[in-house]
Amino acid sequence: MTFAFAFLAVLMVASAGVAMLLRNLIHSALLLVLSWAGVAAFYLWAGAQFVAFAQLLVYVGAISMVVLFAVLLTRRSAGSVADVEPATFARAAAGLLAAGLVGGVLGATMLRSHFPTATGEAPKISVHDIGVDLMGPQVAALLVVGVILTVSLIGAVVIAATDPAATDKEDKP
């Protein structure tokens, strides 16, 4: 139990950390996908089966595809397939400092505070329970999420779509 958790934690943090350091954009993206899969494995370990598979389906199946597609569509030269220029030193230092500060505050709080924990059986939630919940108490939220997804899909298409006349002009050197 604890061993599995430790393994998953190391997997998640290591893959995310290495992804942040690499210069190759595709490698970074794939390692982050591995990290997201680790999060799904954590959900499975915690007993939330449905959420774990939803996480896999959405992050590994959909978002990673969109990301990779964006990488391929935005690369400019064939030579440097996906290398990213490093940030300036000052910027990197400031960013790392801010992240480190937040991390320090969060970590110190977690280590020092004591949370009441439930003792007893691991909670179980079946697909049926989730369905009843979604269609009963949470139905308003479900509708809102549906509207958000539709609007964002249409918005994404509008933003990314090309105006043929405009691209013709732009593409001329």
């Binding site: 595709i26 490698h27 794939l30 996908v33 799904a40 089966q49 449905f50 598979f53 939803a54 896999l56 389906l57 590994v60 199946g61 959909a62 990673s64 595809m65 990779l68 597609f69 391929l72 064939a78 397939v81 079946s126 697909v127 049926h128």
Partner: protein, 413 residues
Amino acid sequence: MTAPAPLTDSFLERVPLLVRDFITGWFPEPIRWVVAGLLAALTILLVFATIFALLTLLERKIIARVQNRPGPNRTGLPWLPFTEGRVFGLGQPLADGIKALTKEDIVPRDADQVLHFLAPVVLVAFSLMTFAVIPFGRNLVSVDLDAAVLFFFAAGAGTELAVFMAGWSSHNKYSLLAAMRALAQLISYELPLLLSVVPVVMLAGKLSTTGIVAAQAGWKFGFIPRWFVLSPWGAAGFVIFFIAALAESNRSPFDLPEAESELIAGHLTEYSGFKYALFFMAEYFGMMALSGLGVTLFLGGWQAPLPVLEVIPSYLWFGAKLMLLILLFMWIRATLPRLRMDQLTRLAWKFLVPLALINLGNAAFWHLSAAWPGLPLQAVRYAIGVAVIVIPFFLIGRRLSAGVAPRTYRYAP
């Protein structure tokens, strides 16, 4: 998984479970479930690898027959008696396997070495994982998950990633083009595939594959099975599912990602030897897994088509239905020419997705009208169900093919 076989079944029905219990009996109680899991994985691997080997030969034979030539017929099994060393080319899979194993494994100098190696591994691993939730027979399912259908698609999502890895890591423009095509195709067809599955989940009220099979049990009038494919929405859903499955497994007429006449071999261009064989194997595994899911969701899973035929064990019925679907895959490959990229995406977004959405409403109607009394009203219900899906089919089809003249065969009779 470790439940003992119920004694009400016939002996043949219980044989796989009895063998499992016999083998797990050698081990102490605490690790029995591990052994049972390993045994299930090993069985799936062996059975489907064997079927894969035989299918490669069968496919070549069938396509050859369609094209009016004999196909592979020379490679025999020389140690078999009375055959003069030639049995329908049955040795061909063996020879192919040895060839793939002994060929030089070439990795291009500029390739991304790690990803180039990982791509086939990831692909085979994920396509094998999908078999875990398919019930091959009564009580024959490796993992009986509560959210099995979701697991199937979640595991299938990994294969798309592997195709991309293969295309990108090869550092070859054809491979990269193929990867982009593959991504566009797989994303587009994921949608109708999922939308055609949703009505099944809705009417069965379950995401577990065993539960969906159980929901199709029983007989109407004592002899018509209650399979979903026999209702109007189920038939339409099955056709949409099958077309989307063809595209998802990169089979002809949707084999654009590896169109050998345009892109050499697409994302497989830079692969050779055993890695190429792994890709080939994964394609067949994907095809078999999707067919298995289709059988489970629409064709009643492992259930017999007639009450009399229930003496034949359930896993044989599952195998027969699976083979039927795979033969359909092969027949279509031999018959239809490849689509163009724009035709491919148009078919998915403008035709299959709207039809699948309409079918969802159709299934809801079917569910709500289940209690209509009397045979005449039931006939009306059936007619409405057919009309709701057939009329949009013709309307949308007309609009999409407007302006396209019928094909003329000028040089062929």
